[in-house]
């Protein structure tokens, strides 16, 4: 066997790097040398059987069954929006994260970040030990250094010390922060995030007089209005929004009715794609639109808003939209919901709170939940802190998490101010842009390897429990906070237990603690909602001058990318996942409208100079349908200079235009061609369906009149096969139905599949050549006018055709059918002719053009699922319906002497889906969920006229249009 480098200190290039190296062809001489060497090696290595070692435990583990996964509940912290997770571990090694069904913020669903977080644990670029002044150090060194500083600080009451954290909602962290405040009363505490909902929280505080979070209940809403809010994908609590939204639109669950979603937004988002009515509206004009809605509601009889000053709107279409929306809201009093995005100003949020109250939504679709034990972001505090740092008033600065030198508003010049601090500490998972400026860098522990706790926005408490011992000498934020306050190290477990002694009832503490670790959430009751005082707010808002809705200049809007604020920049899965709207991977071009492109004479990929308030940025542009005319969307998180081997230098740092005064959007920008083009890897360059009914959709009314529209969309002769059919009458016959009415296009399935099935990352050059390896391709189509179309998504993986065209052309029988209807790949038979891929009408097969796995760092390999074969160069691969999960479930059932129950086995995509769009099961069982879904009138087979008889079906999409606006 090949000798392995000692784990985990080896640094072999990542596969994406390795793949990139093939960009340049080797010279003839090098080619011959490689060939002769590999021939000689091939001859030698075949002579001997590889020797493998078996290392049994020294002491046996209780409940450990070798080769079977064990699942543990935990929590994934993310600002004030933690989500419960269920982690799959193999022999003590976490390999997959899914949403926890009992946690209110996850409800069993997950997003791309939850799915990809496990890859960060095994990132070979994580820092492995503390650093002092750029040189390696030990934790004892830091403890000793801090002790010395602490004595000095204590003597002056903590004056000169500042602690900068990211926002959090954690009883333990909050308690330790209090402890630090008591020990060093003069110390400054600042909280700031790269992506924050400061204006929303500020508005909510103004409404309730204390820190609260407005929690929306999409499931109870019949009319939802999102103003510049990507509530289903990008905003806080989006998982539960998506879950509730899907529930409110499931025809079966609602007696055949559906909720209606109105969206007004500057840039096309997934929420906009899901909308029944979408209005393009620049972010700057959203305030006017909200005000116009209030005035229209007042005009139509909503008493508190009578005589509300109506701003003038741009055009008649907008006025018609607002009028129809107002009528719909009034017709559904108490069952509507209005929300604005975090980018919007506090006044807009306040106005919507007032509207929600006047329409009777409070207590049903919107609750103000008191926040406790949290740290909430405040840009003003950060500005004050930076000023003090620059003035030399801060002698000691501790930064717990975050990367302010990269992400902080550009006008603060945090990096320059940081250089002036004498003793600075940065806790972070890698040596990043901030770490190189601080005197101390401390490695932060991943949440899968540390103890902690979280509080959801409705105050449900849960614990973060480690799945694995820390891989490196890293500490959690709570451990460092305790070290700061007490001057000595404490283990995270003890710190969390100290906190929970006061939270759980003293009698039976151990039992309830263990039960909570098992369940993943504490039984303690959530907080009750507060009643906001909006009378005063309303009076104040009324006094404000009417906002203008006109916009003659360009505006720039900032929005988080798949990398969020850059924290996931080194996560190759998130870099390579195509953006669901633009389908671009590995880049963040500025998104512009067709109109602007025409006006400025710009084409896709062209470089522009974007100027705002005297600052400028060179960035390529990409034309996106549905973009507001005068909006330019800039995605945060790219252009990192110290992210690691994957993320460094990818994309453009748009933070250079982001100031503390307007972190969400800013008007007054100019755009000018800068000359040159930038290559961009786009995974889907066509926009429409070319007249074929791939995604079938109809209005709700149309569906009621013609329920069979989906199947009638294609005319074809009787489908008779030339082949001798398989007999699919016994055992399990697996099938899948994907409900396009529930799918919001969030990509969670794609990443879940990548994680579950050891799918490699190929890099930007290969994506540009169409060689991405994702087994689930999320097709995105636009229909309607090119400038302002509707967007639909369709996840396409192998359809497991019963008369599969791929099987008929394979010369070596590497892809064949099994008795359960699966189209299976025998990788070891595949010789890589790629005929199958050519013959696949769905283009669902992926080919390994290179060996993407073998050169991976050993650490990176730890994320691989041991139940799935790792494919070699020259081998075709595709969706297997998670064959490993089927085998596991069937075997479990066999051992227990029963059959696999319906719903017992779930594919990775199905488990990840936050809206429950995917149903999977046995088609032979007429009572199974998948059989019922397949029998639904909306179900149809993609390209059924080809008579390949796919096992995966789709359910047509419906839009609940307002008859007034059709």
């Amino acid at each position: 066997m090949k000798k392995r480098a000692p784990f985990p200190h080896d640094f072999v290039p990542e596969p994406e790097d390795a793949a990139e190296q093939w960009h340049e062809l080797p010279s003839r001489r090098r080619f011959l040398r490689l060939m002769s060497a590999s021939l000689a090696l091939a001859g030698l290595s075949a002579c001997r059987k590889p020797v493998e070692k078996i290392m049994p435990y020294v002491k046996g583990l209780e409940e450990s069954v070798p080769g079977l996964p064990v699942f543990y509940a935990s929590t994934m912290p993310h600002g004030i929006h933690p989500a419960g997770v269920l982690v799959t571990t193999f022999d003590g090694r976490p390999t997959k994260i899914d949403g926890l069904a009992v946690h209110p913020a996850a409800l069993g669903g997950s997003d791309i970040h939850m799915q990809a977080a496990v890859l960060d644990l095994y990132d070979p670029d994580r820092s492995q030990q503390p650093q002092h002044a750029g040189a390696g150090a030990e934790w004892v060194d830091f403890t000793a250094a801090w002790k010395k500083e602490l004595t000095q600080l204590q003597s002056r009451g903590g004056e000169g010390l500042a602690v900068l954290t990211e926002s959090f909602a954690s009883p333990t962290l909050s308690r330790l922060q209090q402890e630090l405040a008591v020990a060093l009363p003069g110390a400054i505490r600042v909280c700031w995030d790269g992506i924050q909902e400061e204006s929303l929280l500020e508005a909510a505080r103004a409404a309730c007089g204390q820190a609260v979070y407005p929690l929306a209940h999409f499931a109870r809403a019949e009319v939802v209005v999102c103003l510049d809010a990507d509530a289903l994908y990008g905003e806080g609590e989006h998982l539960r929004h998506a879950h509730g939204f899907a529930a409110s639109r499931a025809l079966d669950g609602n007696g055949g009715s559906m909720s209606r979603l109105y969206v007004a937004e500057p840039t096309l988002t997934l929420t906009g794609g899901a909308a029944d009515h979408r209005l393009r509206c620049e972010a700057t004009r959203v305030a006017a639109l909200a005000s116009a809605l209030a005035a229209e509601l007042g005009r139509q009889g909503l008493t508190p808003f009578a005589n509300w000053p109506a701003p003038h709107l741009e055009n008649a279409a907008e006025e018609r939209w607002i009028a129809a929306l107002a009528r719909d809201l009034l017709a559904h009093r108490g069952k509507g919901l209005l929300i604005a995005g975090r980018r919007q100003l506090a006044e807009v949020h306040l106005l919507l709170f007032a509207l929600n109250q006047a329409l009777g939504h409070l207590g049903t679709t919107l609750d103000f939940m008191p926040l406790a034990q949290t740290a909430l972001p405040a840009t003003a505090d950060l500005a004050r802190l930076t000023a003090k740092m620059a003035a030399g008033e801060i002698t000691h600065l501790v930064i717990l998490g975050g990367n302010p030198a990269y992400a902080a508003p550009v006008d603060l010049d945090f990096a320059a101010a940081l250089r002036r601090v004498g003793f600075s500490v940065h806790l972070s998972d890698r040596v990043d842009e901030t770490s190189i400026l601080t005197t101390w860098h401390l490695p932060a522990a991943h949440f899968l390897e540390s103890w902690g706790d979280c509080r959801s926005v409705e105050s449900r408490l849960s614990v973060i429990q480690p799945m694995i011992a820390p891989l490196f000498a890293s500490r959690s934020a709570a451990e460092v906070m305790a070290l700061l306050a007490r001057g000595e190290e404490h283990h995270g477990y003890d710190l969390v237990r100290e906190t929970w002694k006061g939270l759980l009832p003293a009698s039976g503490y151990e039992k309830s603690w263990r039960q909570m670790l098992h369940d993943g959430i504490s039984p303690l009751a959530p907080a009750s909602p507060l009643q906001p005082d909006l009378e005063r707010i309303l009076a104040e808002l009324r006094q404000q001058p009417a906002v203008s809705s006109s916009l003659d200049k360009l505006e720039v809007i900032f929005q988080p990318s798949a990398l969020l604020d850059g924290r996931y920049a080194n996560n190759a899965w998130l870099q390579e996942v195509p953006d669901p709207v633009t389908k671009i991977a590995w880049d963040n071009p500025a998104r512009i409208s067709h109109e602007l492109a025409r006006e400025a004479g710009l084409a896709n990929g062209e470089m522009v100079q974007l100027s705002l308030n005297g600052r400028s940025l060179r960035i390529p542009v990409w034309i996106v349908p549905g973009q507001a005319v005068h909006s330019v969307t800039l995605e945060l998180g790219y252009g990192r200079t110290r992210a690691g081997r994957v993320g460094t230098g990818v994309g453009f740092d748009v933070g250079v235009l982001r100031s503390s005064a307007s972190p969400g959007f800013a008007a007054g920008a100019t755009i000018a061609p800068a000359g040159g083009r930038f290559p961009i890897a786009c995974a889907q360059e066509y926009a429409g369906m070319a007249g074929r009914p791939l995604v079938r959709q109809a209005g709700l009314e149309e569906f009621r009149h013609n329920p069979g529209f989906a199947r009638a969309a294609v005319e074809h002769p009787p489908l008779k096969s030339l082949w001798k059919d398989h007999d699919y009458k016994t055992g399990y016959q697996w099938g899948m139905v994907i409900d396009l009415n529930a799918c919001i296009g969030c990509n969670a399935c794609t990443i879940a599949c990548q994680c579950e099935n050891n799918i490699p990352v190929v890099g930007k050059t290969q994506v540009a050549k169409g060689r991405e390896m994702h087994w689930i391709r999320l097709d995105r189509y636009f229909n309607g006018t090119p400038d302002d179309p509707e967007m639909v998504h369709q996840p396409v993986a192998c359809q497991h055709c019963e008369t599969a065209p791929c099987e008929q052309v394979c010369p070596v029988g590497a892809t064949v059918h099994d008795h359960e209807g699966l189209n299976v790949m025998a990788y070891n038979r595949c010789v890589g002719t790629r005929y199958c891929s050519n013959n696949c009408p769905y283009k669902a097969r992926r080919f390994n053009f290179f060996d993407y796995t073998q050169k991976m760092a050993e650490l990176r390999k730890m994320v691989q699922n041991p139940d799935v074969t790792v494919r070699m160069r020259g081998v075709m691969e595709k969706c297997t319906y998670c064959l490993q999960r089927l085998t596991l479930a069937k075997n479990k059932a066999r051992l227990e002497g029963r059959r696999v129950a319906d719903g017992e086995v779930r594919t990775a995509c199905q488990q990840a889906c936050p809206t429950g769009a995917i149903t999977f099961g046995n088609l032979l069982d007429p009572e199974s969920a998948v059989s019922r879904a397949r029998a639904s009138q909306r179900s149809y087979a993609l390209l059924e006229e080809l008579n390949v008889r796919p096992r995966t079906c789709f359910a047509a999409r419906l839009r609940n249009r307002n008859p007034e606006l059709v």
């Binding site: 078996i54 290392m55 049994p56 020294v58 070798p66 990788y827 074969t869 085998t887 075997n891």
Partner: protein, 215 residues
């Protein structure tokens, strides 16, 4: 002009063809015998770090396989016993034996004993112990008469053809649940009838699809 080629040269092409065919048969025969797992793998008996004798423990002392390999009925992988299992007895028995030195070392240092793997399937083949035991395939069907092996050697080729032979006709390998770990069990005259009954009763239908073992 005299004939350039003698009369016998008419036979040269024939001889060449015969020689070539013989040569080809030899090469094919050579590789199909010397290259097959039946030659390369059967009998593989590497030196182990501890001279543990199955013949002594499982044979003479009559310990059940599952005393050490306890997870086989539930797990896909057959586990090797932790050092702790050895020490259960050897804390008291032969505590000074030099042959047990690596075991005691492992016990005191906490580092595992690195055994050499004998039964090695390719990484793309997934074998599940629990499924086979549950169906009534005994240990010795694949591992041979372990009770007679002082040093464990591979008894069967474990090649795909060998696996499939049994998946196609499992009748002769199925035994009653109580005899799974027995090394002396032999199919008797009634085996065909017994196998038919148990296969029907337990719905035993060994998969012959690719997906049965490869995923």
């Amino acid at each position: 002009m005299a004939q350039l080629f003698k009369r016998w040269s008419n036979y040269v092409p024939l001889i060449l063809v015969v020689v070539a065919m013989l040569g080809l048969a030899t090469v094919i025969g050579f590789f199909s015998y010397f290259g097959s797992p039946r030659f390369t793998d059967v009998g593989y008996a590497p030196q182990q770090p501890v001279p543990y004798s199955h013949a002594l423990h499982a044979g003479d002392l009559g310990m059940d396989c599952r005393y050490c390999h306890h997870a086989i009925e539930a797990a896909p992988h057959a586990n090797l016993p932790p050092t702790q299992t050895c020490m259960n007895c050897h804390e008291i028995l032969l505590p000074e034996s030099s042959r047990l030195m690596p075991v005691r070392e492992s016990w005191s240092t906490g580092l595992p004993i690195a055994w050499n793997r004998i039964h090695l399937l390719p990484d793309y083949a997934y074998f599940n112990h629990s499924a086979h035991l549950h169906a009534g395939v005994g240990c010795s069907s694949c591992h041979g008469l372990i009770t007679r092996m002082a040093v464990v050697a591979q008894a069967e080729p474990l090649s795909m053809g060998w696996c499939l032979a049994c998946h196609r006709h499992p009748e002769s390998s199925l035994r009653p649940a109580g005899e799974i770990t027995s090394m002396v069990w032999k199919p008797d005259a009634d085996q065909a009838r017994f196998a038919a009954v148990i296969m029907k009763q337990n719905k035993i239908a060994p998969p012959q699809d690719c997906s049965g073992c490869h995923r």
